[in-house]
Structures are given as structure tokens and as C-alpha cells.
Amino acid sequence: MANLIKEKFSEGDSFLHKLDPRVKIVVALLFSAIVAVTDRSTPLLGDLLFAVGLIIIAKLKIREVILRLLVVNSFTLLLWIMLPFTFSGEKIYILNSLGVSREGIKYAFLLTIKSNSIILVGIALLSTSSIYNLVHALRHLYLPDKLVQLSFFSYRYLHTIHSEYIRLNNALKVRGFKSQTNFHTYKTYAYLIGMMLVRSYDRSKRVYNAMLCRGFKGKFWTLNHFSFKKSDLVGGIVMISCIVGLVLFL
């Protein structure tokens, strides 16, 4: 959560950081869609390479990227535990009475590659822009205003709720609260969560009021217009041809 809020990856000056967010959103969307429907392993491996390549171009801290991948792969680990034993197909190994199927392993393998590629491209293309720029880009891509605002405010208030939590948690700590396995701890945490929700709700109302006072009428206007440069066009075309080429020729 802290990572998400600090937008760690959005600061930098690589080619991908400077690329027009609209291009990045379109490319990321296209890539995810194609990877999701592809089920042959050769093009998928190519896609994974493409994703790793983008991470390298974005000059991101490899350690941070791996930390994020660990989160995703804790879910794919579950697939590896379930799929080989439950998928019907040729049994290649018998563990006690459970058969391990070749198709199951293949399926888990493909899903692992798919999820990792999509996450990597997401990190390389989307996290290298600030949320505000992405939101503006969505507006420029003609997403309805209501959806754009919804995504912006969910993000904005996540931060508010998080800081509200830190404040309340500190208030507990300075009065000697230690979390233990007893009724007092449960009750205190219940109060904390309840108070957090009430306070964030109140704050969100006040923030909205402050916006109304500054003439907000339901539309966000952007200060910095994106300028579509030649490098954006070239970058977009190169990336899209790579993605399409991988499916067509591999």
C-alpha cells in the first residue's frame, strides 16, 4: 500500500518516463489483451522477454520490481499447488494417490508467464507515470468523466485513509498499546477501524466541499496539456509492432 501511495516508480527520466501516458495506456491495454488470449508458449515467452526489455529501458530498481513480482507470484504459487493435481490429462507422475497431469503443469506454467508479463509491462509503462497524469490521459482517451473521477478519488482517498490510520495507530502507541491476543486488542482494533472509516468519510465530505468552494462543477480541467511528440509516435508504433509481431510470427 505504501508503495502504491508513494508512486515510487513514477520518478525518473528514462524514455518510458517521458513517453506520452496515452500511448503507454494504449500499449499496455493491447499487450494485456493479447497476452490474455494467447495460449501457445513460444509467443508468450517472447512477450515475457518484451516485458523484461521494457523494464530495462525504464531503468527501474530491479530489487523493487522483484519485490512486486513476489506479491503476484504468491498467487501463482497457489495455482501450482492446485492445477497439476486437478487438471485431467496424461499423468506423468503419481504422488501417493494423486496424479500429476502434463496439461495441468503446462497450464500453470502459461498462467505464470502471462501474469508476470502483464505485471511487468504494467510496471514499466503505467507506474512510470504519476496517477494524475494517467487520470488525465484516460480523460483524453474519452473515458467517461464519472469513471475517471471515480478512479482518481479512490486513489486519492486511499491515501487519506492510510494517513488517518497512521495517525490513529500512533495515538494508540503513545498511550502504551501493544497488540496481543486478548479481548482488549480486538476491541481496540475494532474501534480503530470504525473510527478510521468515520473520519475518512467526514474528511472526504470536507475535501469535496473545499472543491465546491473553488468552483468545481464535476469536470477536471488539466493544467499541463500533453503534447504528442514524434518520439511518442515512433515509440508507440515500435511497441505495438513488437506485440503484434510476436503473436503473428512466433
Binding site: 504519476s130 496517477i131 494524475y132 486519492r156 491515501h159 494517513s163 474528511r203 470536507r206 475535501v207 466541499n209 473545499a210 472543491m211 465546491l212 468552494c213 473553488r214 468552483g215 468545481f216 462543477k217 480541467w221 488539466t222 493544467l223 496539456h225
Partner: protein
């Protein structure tokens, strides 16, 4: 002498929060153009509530609110009010919601449909007047409290309104920043404003009359 223009006229205004006793009953108050009013009173006496009623953020239980000579009742009535009267919130965290200082300050002018060129000029001027040059790209939630205060003042200032409602603009600020606030207000004689504050010294330097709000009444002192 030409009669002074009434900006805000509250007639027999009553307000109560749900399930609580009246904050005030049949309150009458006039605020004229050119006035620099200080508003004092104990905590919970309804000072902030009064500001929110004037801005149409709360709806009264009874009485009338007239602003710029017109009765204001519906949400649409208050749109014009909000464009011409600026409200500085007590808590700067309520006011700042954009990631960068520049975007937050530009939010108001862009809502008023100023052109990009004008907005950028307003942004630059505002930052300069409030001594915040170089703050443009700072992240709003990483600012110190005093800086947040000045930036939220800047977001209101950028609306270029002649009438301001300032809710405790100097609470918890150090002396240097308070002096800066005093200078900003005194350098602009065309402003009319109401300031809620507990700081008597600050009010003495920035206002020319003081009202006390207590027990649902408002009286000049």
C-alpha cells in the same frame, strides 16, 4: 456618503445540526463591502458553521441568506457565491487534494474556465505574492504544516476573489509566517474579509472591527 454595498445579509437565520440543539436561532448579521471583520468566540460557538452557511455547504433550518442582494437557497444559487467569495478551510489537508502544488492552485482558475495562459500567469503571480516561488512541483502531502497553510491560502488566492472568509488562517503558525500573512492581507486594500481567529494580536493588525459570537448571538465589540 454613498451607502455601502451589503455583501452578506443574514436575516433571522437558525441552524441546528441533526439531533443537537440550535447553534443559533434568529441570527442577524450584515457584512459590507470594504469591511475587514474579525470573528471571535469560544470553541463550538458556530463560527465555522456560519462560514459554511454563507457558502451554501450547510442549509439553514430557518431564516434567509441574501448575498449580493439576492436570496440564496438552492445549490445553483450558491455557484455564483462560490465563484466570488473564497473560503479558506481550517484544516489545510481538506483543501489540498492534487498531488502537486501547481495543479492544486490551478484547480480553481481552471474551474472558472480561465485560459491555460491566464492560469499559468495566475499561478506564477500567486506563488510570488505568497512567497512560494519554487514550490510549483512540490508534492502537497509532503509539505510542512506551515507550508500547507500558505499553499491552501494560495489555492484560494488564485481564484482572484475580492471577498474572503478565512477560518483560523494563522493557528499553529510561527511568527514569521504570521507576519507574512498580515503583510499579504494589508497589501491588498481592495479586499473585504471575515477572519475567524483566536489570535487577538493578529486580528488587531488585519481587521477594523471585531464581532463576538457566543450563545447563538453575534455582536460587535
Amino acid at each position: 456618503m454613498k451607502e455601502k454595498e451589503v455583501i452578506v445579509k443574514l436575516i433571522d437565520l437558525s441552524f441546528a445540526y441533526p439531533y443537537r440543539d440550535y447553534v443559533f436561532k434568529k441570527l442577524n448579521f450584515n457584512f459590507y463591502r470594504g469591511e475587514r471583520v474579525g470573528l471571535v468566540g469560544p470553541n463550538g460557538s458556530g463560527k465555522t458553521t456560519l462560514f459554511q452557511l454563507i457558502m451554501g455547504l450547510l442549509k439553514p433550518n430557518g431564516g434567509k441568506i441574501e448575498i449580493f442582494g439576492k436570496e440564496r437557497r438552492t445549490e445553483d444559487d450558491f455557484i455564483e457565491v462560490r465563484e466570488k467569495i473564497g473560503l479558506l478551510f481550517q484544516d489545510p489537508d481538506d483543501q489540498l487534494f492534487s498531488p502537486t502544488v501547481a495543479e492544486d492552485i490551478a484547480f480553481g482558475p481552471l474551474n472558472l474556465r480561465k485560459s491555460h495562459q491566464d492560469t499559468k500567469k495566475i499561478l506564477k503571480d500567486t506563488l510570488e505574492i505568497l512567497g512560494l516561488s519554487n514550490f510549483e512541483d512540490r508534492i502537497t502531502y509532503n509539505l510542512s504544516y506551515g507550508e500547507k497553510r500558505l499553499v491552501s491560502m494560495a489555492t484560494v488566492w488564485a481564484m482572484q476573489q475580492k471577498i474572503l472568509l478565512l477560518d483560523e488562517p494563522v493557528t499553529w503558525l510561527d511568527e514569521k509566517t504570521i507576519a507574512q500573512m498580515i503583510q499579504i492581507l494589508n497589501n491588498n486594500p481592495c479586499l473585504s474579509y471575515i477572519i475567524i481567529s483566536h489570535d487577538k494580536k493578529f486580528l488587531k493588525k488585519t481587521t477594523n472591527c471585531i464581532y463576538l459570537m457566543d450563545n447563538g448571538n453575534i455582536n460587535k465589540i
